[in-house]
């Protein structure tokens, strides 16, 4: 029973549901722990040490979650540049996943750095070290969040303003909307170039660590592999969110759109795998894959978790079965996240007897920041017209969208 998604609707559902309260509660707990961390020091709440000085916050909340949050970037590239018209229907969902992914990631980064007050110097380009890849990531991510993601997420918000009944608000909404209409192509171009740069740089970060990263992962192609993985994970996250939402709120199942997203994602997994293996072969490290030590097992897990579901999804009879499609996407998301996580942690040589396992407080905080993203998502889809729905649902819920050009 496949349907066609027509327009975005606002869910007429109660906000204070049990899942929402759970996610909000976890987020609140993480804020309390973050406060404790600010009053004591990183060592008291995390398992980080001088050997593994980057842990869950940077490697999950920043590196991995912004890749999962690259859906707004990846889907927009295909919707606008490659002109896949159907994808416009899921673009609002995609940019919202990006907003919460990047937003909570940057929040975690703010908690993770030891001397956050010195961030103010980022406003002074004279203190910049132009050679620093990390600076590029910091500046680009901030710029993307402030200049592109906020704007991309504006239309549903403006619609609400427009229909608030207050003529002044309506006028303002119109003004902003018209301005966005004029500048839109340039904004989208910015929303393309900034994530392209910082998602590649996130890979480049570990290239500087040189011999401290296992040769199966350490390569000059890290920027390319990380960038492609941002697309893959972005697609997987959008797919999972759409499918879960569709099942939870009965929005219909647009197999055409979901299938197309899955095919693009799977093709990129295939491309990524080829690039990776060719590179490893070129560096003469293929033998390391089958040594079956810790590293080889992680490598095989990554490869199989990504490649097997991707190849299966390329088969039409398989991807048209909703539950199978969901499970395969989940496997790709897990495999891709594992790849994003590995070079900084599992395949990192600390030199010396260092061990790292996140502390309970650290895990709670990391989960809490992620939950904050989920809670914001749940709030947004019940306040604004974001999720796509089938025709019957649209008619029933009066999908009034004065700004649906965006």
């Amino acid at each position: 029973m496949t349907a066609h998604w027509e327009k975005c609707i606002r869910l007429k559902e109660p906000l204070l549901t049990k899942p929402f309260l759970l996610f909000a509660g976890l987020a609140a707990l993480s804020f309390l722990l973050a406060l404790y961390r600010e009053l004591t020091g990183l060592g008291y709440v995390t398992g980080l040490n001088d050997g593994y000085s980057w842990g869950l916050f940077k490697n999950w909340n920043v590196t991995t979650l912004t890749a999962l949050g690259s859906g707004g970037y990846a889907v927009a590239v295909f919707a606008w540049i490659f002109n896949v018209r159907q994808f416009h229907k899921v673009l609002r969902t995609a940019v919202l996943t990006s907003l919460v992914g990047y937003g909570t990631g940057m929040l975690a980064l703010g908690i993770d750095v030891g001397r956050p007050w010195n961030f103010i110097w980022i406003a002074n380009p004279l203190t910049w070290n132009q050679h620093s890849v990390l600076l590029e990531v910091a500046v680009c991510m901030t710029a993307y969040f402030m200049l592109a993601l906020d704007v991309e997420n504006m239309p549903p918000f403006l619609e609400r303003m427009y229909r608030s009944g207050d003529p002044k608000k309506k006028e303002w909404a119109m003004k902003i909307f018209n301005f966005m209409h004029k500048t839109f192509p340039f904004g989208i171009a910015l929303a393309f170039i900034l994530p392209s740069m910082h998602q590649a740089s996130l890979g480049q970060l570990m290239y500087l660590a040189g011999s401290r990263v296992h040769p199966l992962w350490q390569t000059a192609l890290l920027p390319l592999l990380y960038l492609l993985m941002a697309y893959i994970l972005g697609f997987s996250c959008v797919l999972l969110v759409l499918m879960l939402s569709s099942l939870t709120w009965d929005l219909g199942w647009d197999q055409e759109i979901l299938g197309r997203l899955a095919v693009i994602m799977s093709s990129m997994v295939a491309l990524w795998t080829v690039v990776r293996f060719v590179d490893i072969g070129r560096r003469g490290a293929l033998g390391l894959i089958l040594t079956f030590d810790r590293y080889s097992l992680v490598f095989l897990a990554e490869t199989l978790l990504l490649l097997v579901p991707a190849l299966l999804m390329l088969l039409k009879p398989i991807r048209t079965r909703p539950s199978v499609l969901f499970q395969l996407c989940l496997l790709v998301a897990i495999g891709g996240s594992l790849y994003r996580f590995t070079p900084t942690t599992l395949a990192f040589f600390p030199l010396g007897n260092y061990r790292y396992f996140p502390s309970v407080a650290e895990i709670l905080m990391s989960v809490g920041f992620t939950s904050l993203g989920v809670a914001v998502f749940l709030y947004a889809v019940k306040k604004y017209a974001i999720l796509p729905a089938s025709a019957s649902k649209v008619a029933a819920e009066t999908a009034l969208q004065p700004f649906d050009t965006l």
Binding site: E38, L39, T40, G41, L42, G43, Y44, L48, D50, S53, W54, W80, I81, N83, H88, D112, V113, G114, R115, P116, N118, F119, W121, I122, T127, W128, N129, H131, S132, V133, L135, A138, M174, F177, F184, P185, F186, A189, L190, F192, M197, A200, Q204, L205, L208, A209, G210, S211, A220, P223, T344, P350, L351, G352, N353, L400, Q401, P402, D404, T405
Partner: protein
Amino acid sequence: MDVNRRDALKALFGGSAFAAIASTAVPVAKASEKAVEPEVDAVGLLYDATKCIGCRACMPACQNANGLKPDTGGSGGLYQQPDTLNSHTKNLIKLYVADDGHERSFIKQQCMHCVDPACVSGCPMKALHKEGLGVVAWTSYLCIGCRYCQVACPFNIPKFEWDKVNPKIVKCELCDHLVGKAQAEPACTKVCPTHAVVYGKRTDLLAEAHRRIKAQPGFYFEDRVYGEFEAGGTQCLVLSHVDFTKVGLPKLDKESAPAQVRKVNDFIYQGFLTPLVVYGGVAAIMRGRWKGHLSEHEHQEHEQTGAEGKKV
């Protein structure tokens, strides 16, 4: 469809025009310095493991010179006994003993003061930087505490004050607050009774190391100086009679990691030309797409007569 293709072509030409403008406007960044040469007056240490008697006199001297609290954790509070470099130990003498108990050597651990340091290359805001005489130094007010230096350093040297609200990065800075002012050399070399570690200009130290190797061929490991070429060269040099990797000095490329990163970055960015050209190209394509999008939308709205969806 046809319209779209024409738009795309137009857009591409638009993009190349933009690229042409950009290429004249942006001076292409100077061809990157492939390898960084040591400064002429660069200073460092020469540590000869075969002369070290393991008295550890350099360790309390370092604590005193730098105002650091001794780490007495390993001795139950009796005397200074750190097991690794840490946030209050910038200098450490360690003993390596082979499993058979015969081969043994001391090793002095401290910042190697690389010629082209990874920590400096990675530091977002020049908190870690090369000072006069090539010393790698840290400035508190520019440090955001991101700890990228700890991830990047091939020797795992910079340490972080995990238990502080206002944490610092702690590492040897060659007593740069004393040398040339209160004293002529760092605390560790000043107290060393056997001159196992000496301070001087890197060129002099290298010459001295090679003189020692020449005087006793086959005595030192591979007849070479660790740090002459490793990681693009370090200003602190090590001579040892045992395998360097056994005493914790990793095997490193002659080309420093920062030089490799610069190469990849220069290839990708072409002096920031790439992002500008791509931006221009995408903006040009987007202008075409946007027009098509709007006209299609208007078309649809005409079809759905009535309703409040009037063009705003």
